[in-house]
């Protein structure tokens, strides 16, 4: 059975290779091949899942060691996979949602001449992401980690002819690299501390390592997670990443890749458990990002960017939960899975809207779309209800658990974190309601020639909103189904908790208030959020051109000036630095050498005058030289 693990990765990898190297002859069939191979991977995942369920809770971990990847004296990295409950969850999510999004893309990318390549990249992403979650050591995880980064780079910049897309892709990769630096330093630290970086041995030896080392490792892992999961301070790339095609935003920048940071922290639970300081920082990062993303999401008029802010915020929840330790690990993952469903659904809905609106992304130019795209409206609406935590839908369960866990942290920290999560729930309700109202309710606000966002097909014509083709709506329906029922399914009988507990551990913590109180508070926040949004955007007509807004709104529109800071400090500063270094290289380093050469040259020029070409002149030199030699000889004799 364990031999199937490699096949999980191999299937999409094969697809990527075939599609990317296959050339034009695959243009007609490539997307089917890509979808098929993603589905094959999902199929294998299901088989493995069934097999895993058939075994006892303690006997569920499968390993497969293919070969030794990097053997050097004292340093060994294996090409080995480990499939346990945690990986299994991810495998199903990745290959499942992945397959759905492949299907969706068939319709969405229908008119793109480079569709084959798009599917190649998607397959590459699925393979790399599976490698990330299946690796049995950190170095191999790093392989997958960078692999998804590459796929993300390629997919964000898929429409490379747009300079904004190319820039966004580069930015995403670079910011991720900063995070990767953290991961690689963490691996080095593990190597010097434990002499290995395979999961099993490291976690087994955590107890013997000093807390300082563990804290350092934890912080470095957190840096990596911040990069990949767009957490403060490395969050700036996610908004720009929306330049990519919408299925990409759904798959990579909502459902799977950005949650890799959560996976990393939960996977490294043993390390973090031994380093409370690192855990505290994790929760702080999560809390800050939670609010940051939420605030940004409130102000954006671009539907995808608003959703991106939401993604950031939701991952903030997960990171926060993961930072809580055994109280929160399970719920972090649970929220991750439900978030995978509803956020992917929301993005696909957004894509569907854009598809019908000539790729318009400004929500102020939507309005009243529920009549034109009923399926999209319903599925998007279900996703919306799920994310704001409407009772009974999946978001309700998973988010509520995190809020409870935050309170259960205990002490002042618990109250603060709990408060933040509650506040976040309220803001979430606000901005999601805003998105919903702007897009589907109210009067229609679209105009002819509204589109200036680069779409060639319909610019200059009034958009004719229409429902999307089956290949797009079917995945949306399935995801909506997941958004509605997944939470309840997981929660009934604490199924998910029992499933994951053997891997991550679990403790109740000491909740200062009862679960019912928390739920009630959440409901209140939810209602407040929805109410304010209704008051601002539901009752009054919405202006097509965004009003100037308050300072907070303006700041949030500009991502709370984080990008400006980056631009001034990093980009400008970097440019000055490189320019001055180029100057230094040319004038100083090279100048010293060339100056030496020039002075030698000048000296030789003067000496050259002695060589006047007259034989007699040379004879004088010889004669003089002879005289000097004789003198020297005599002197030596005399002495």
């Amino acid at each position: 059975m364990e031999n199937l693990i490699a096949l999980l990765i191999a299937a999409p990898l094969l697809g990527a290779v075939v599609l990317l190297c296959g050339g034009r002859r695959l243009d007609k069939t490539g997307h089917w091949l890509g979808t098929l191979l993603a589905a094959v991977s999902f199929g294998i995942g299901v088989v493995l899942f069934a097999d895993m369920l058939g075994r006892g809770a303690d006997d569920r971990t499968l390993t497969q060691n293919l070969y030794t990847w990097i053997p050097v004296e004292g340093f060994q990295a294996d090409m080995a996979f480990q499939l346990d409950q945690l990986s299994m969850t991810f495998v199903l999510l990745i290959s499942g949602v992945g397959t759905l999004i492949h299907v969706y893309s068939i319709g969405y990318m229908e008119h793109d001449e480079r569709r084959r390549r798009f599917f190649g990249y998607l397959n590459l992403f699925v393979a790399a992401m599976l490698l990330l979650v299946l690796a049995d050591n950190y170095l191999l995880l790093y392989f997958g980690w960078e692999g998804v980064g590459l796929a993300s780079y390629l997919l964000i910049g898929f429409w490379q002819h747009k300079p904004s897309a190319a820039t966004a892709a580069k930015k995403a990769f670079l910011v991720n690299r900063v995070g990767d630096m953290g991961l690689s330093i963490a691996i080095m630290l593990m190597f010097t501390t434990f002499g290995t970086f395979a999961f099993g041995p490291v976690f087994g030896a955590v107890g013997e390592a000093s807390e300082g080392k563990l804290t350092a490792i934890g912080l470095m892992l957190l840096l990596a997670a911040c990069g990949k999961s767009a957490q403060v301070p490395l969050q700036s790339w996610l908004g720009d990443a929306m330049e990519g095609p919408t299925p990409v935003s759904a798959l990579i920048h909502a459902a799977t890749m950005v949650t890799a940071g959560v996976y990393l922290i939960v996977r490294s639970a043993a390390v973090f458990n031994g380093a409370p300081d690192a855990q505290l920082v994790v929760t702080v990062v999560g809390a800050v990002t939670l609010l940051f993303g939420a605030i940004v999401g409130c102000a954006k008029d671009d539907i995808k960017k608003a959703l991106a802010g939401s993604t950031m915020s939701q991952i903030g929840y997960m990171i926060l939960a993961a930072g809580l330790g055994p109280i929160g690990y399970v719920f972090a993952i649970m929220h991750l899975v439900t978030h995978g469903f509803f956020k992917a659904g929301l993005f696909l809905g957004a894509g569907s809207v854009m598809h019908g609106m000539n790729d318009e992304v400004d929500m102020r130019k939507y309005g009243g779309l529920r009549k034109y795209m009923p399926v999209t409206f319903v599925t998007f609406g279900l996703g919306y209800l799920a994310i704001i935590g409407f009772p009974g839908l999946s978001g309700f369960f998973s988010k509520d658990m995190i809020i409870e866990a935050a309170f259960a942290k205990g002490g002042t920290e618990g109250w603060i974190l709990g408060g933040v999560t509650l506040l976040g729930a309220g803001i979430t309700a606000f901005y999601m309601t805003r998105v919903m109202l702007l897009t589907f309710f109210g009067e229609k606000r679209w105009q002819p020639t509204a589109s200036d966002s680069g779409s060639a097909a319909g610019s200059g014509h009034e958009p004719h909103p229409h429902e999307s083709p089956k290949s797009m709506t079917v995945p949306m329906v399935i995801l909506a189904f997941g958004s509605v029922f997944a939470g309840a399914f997981f929660e009934i009988g604490e199924r998910f908790l029992k499933w994951l507990e053997p891997v991550t551990g679990y403790s109740h913590g000491n909740p200062p208030v009862s679960a019912m109180t928390v739920t009630a508070a959440t409901m209140v926040m939810l209602l407040v959020g929805v109410g304010i949004a209704w008051a601002m955007y539901g009752k009054r007509p919405v202006p097509v051109v965004a009003p100037r807004g308050s300072f907070l709104t303006r700041a949030a529109r500009r991502d709370l000036y984080q990008d400006d800071f980056n631009h001034v400090v990093l980009v400008r500063g970097g440019e000055h630095l490189t320019r001055s270094l180029v100057y230094v290289d040319h004038s100083l380093v090279d100048g010293v050498v060339n100056g030496t050469a020039a002075s030698v040259g000048g000296l030789s020029g003067r000496l050259r005058k002695l060589q006047n070409g007259y034989a007699r002149s040379y004879a004088v030199s010889m004669f003089g030289g002879t005289a000097i030699l004789i003198a020297a000889t005599l002197l030596m004799r005399a002495v």
Binding site: Y614, R616, S617, V620, F623, I630, L634, A638
Partner: protein, 268 residues
């Protein structure tokens, strides 16, 4: 001459040394200081003959004779031949063209000489053994014995060297004639065809005043024509210009006649 042996020489030899030595140095100085190569050559010949005498005085009879016959007789004559062939040229001038060359040369020479003298004085040369014992068995025989035994290889090689030198000199000076020499008729035809100078070149010399070959003939306006002088002399720059002389003569003549005519006019 078996007396040529002692540490100190006879007073006759001393007198000979000081007189002839002085002359030899004067000859050497003349060699390098005389303006004309011929004079240099003659001074050198004199120095060499004196050296020959010194060889004889030192018991090198064979060498002394060879010095006179080969060096002074043959080699110096060769020099004179070449001097004549090449002629007295501008290169003979003692004017220095390279800046500082002369001073450097003299300085180096002085320094070198002083060092040599110091070296000889410092060398602590011991007894002079003299050649009496060696020459007693016959001087030339002694030389022959050495040359044909100990130095036979060197001797053979110098033979080869001489032959090579002779052949080399021939190769260097010999100009291969690559085509048949033109006959007089052909030369005449060529001249006509070129059409530059049909009649024979004008003769050198100023008629009735100078008829030496190195004096250029004067054109009607009194300027000298180099065409009249042979090509070799032209190349050497050895043309004696008498034009100014002729013009002065003419001017004097005119003045004299003017004076006379003027007087006559005045008398009228």
């Amino acid at each position: 001459m078996s007396a040529v042996a002692a540490t100190a020489t006879s007073s006759g030899e001393a007198v000979q040394f000081w007189i002839l030595g002085t002359v030899a140095v004067i000859g050497a100085l003349a060699t390098i200081l005389m303006k004309k190569a011929v004079h240099s050559a003659l001074s050198l010949a004199g120095t060499m003959i004196i050296l020959a005498v010194f060889y004889l005085a030192n018991g090198a009879y064979f060498l002394g004779v060879v010095q006179v016959i080969v060096y002074t007789g043959a080699i110096m004559m060769l020099f004179l031949f070449v001097v004549m062939l090449v002629g007295v040229t501008a290169a003979d001038s003692l004017k220095e063209t390279i800046k500082g060359q002369r001073w450097l040369a003299v300085l180096c020479g002085l320094g070198f000489g002083i060092l040599l003298f110091a070296g000889i004085g410092h060398a602590g040369l011991g007894q002079f053994n003299g050649l009496g014992r060696i020459n007693s068995a016959g001087h030339v025989e002694g030389l022959a014995q050495l040359i044909f035994t100990k130095y036979v290889f060197a001797f053979e090689i110098t033979g080869a060297l001489l032959i090579t030198a002779a052949v080399g000199a021939m190769v260097l000076t010999h100009r291969e004639r690559t085509e048949r020499a033109a006959t007089q008729r052909e030369l005449a035809e060529r001249r006509v065809r070129a059409g530059v100078q049909l009649p024979p070149l004008p003769a050198p010399g100023v008629y009735a005043r100078h008829n030496a070959v190195d004096v250029a003939g004067l054109l009607p306006d009194g300027t000298p024509s180099e065409l009249t002088v042979s090509k070799t002399l032209r190349a050497r720059g050895q043309i004696r210009d008498v034009s100014s002389e002729a013009l002065d003569d003419l001017k004097a003549l005119e003045q004299r006649s003017a004076e006379r005519l003027g007087r006559e006019e005045a008398s009228q």
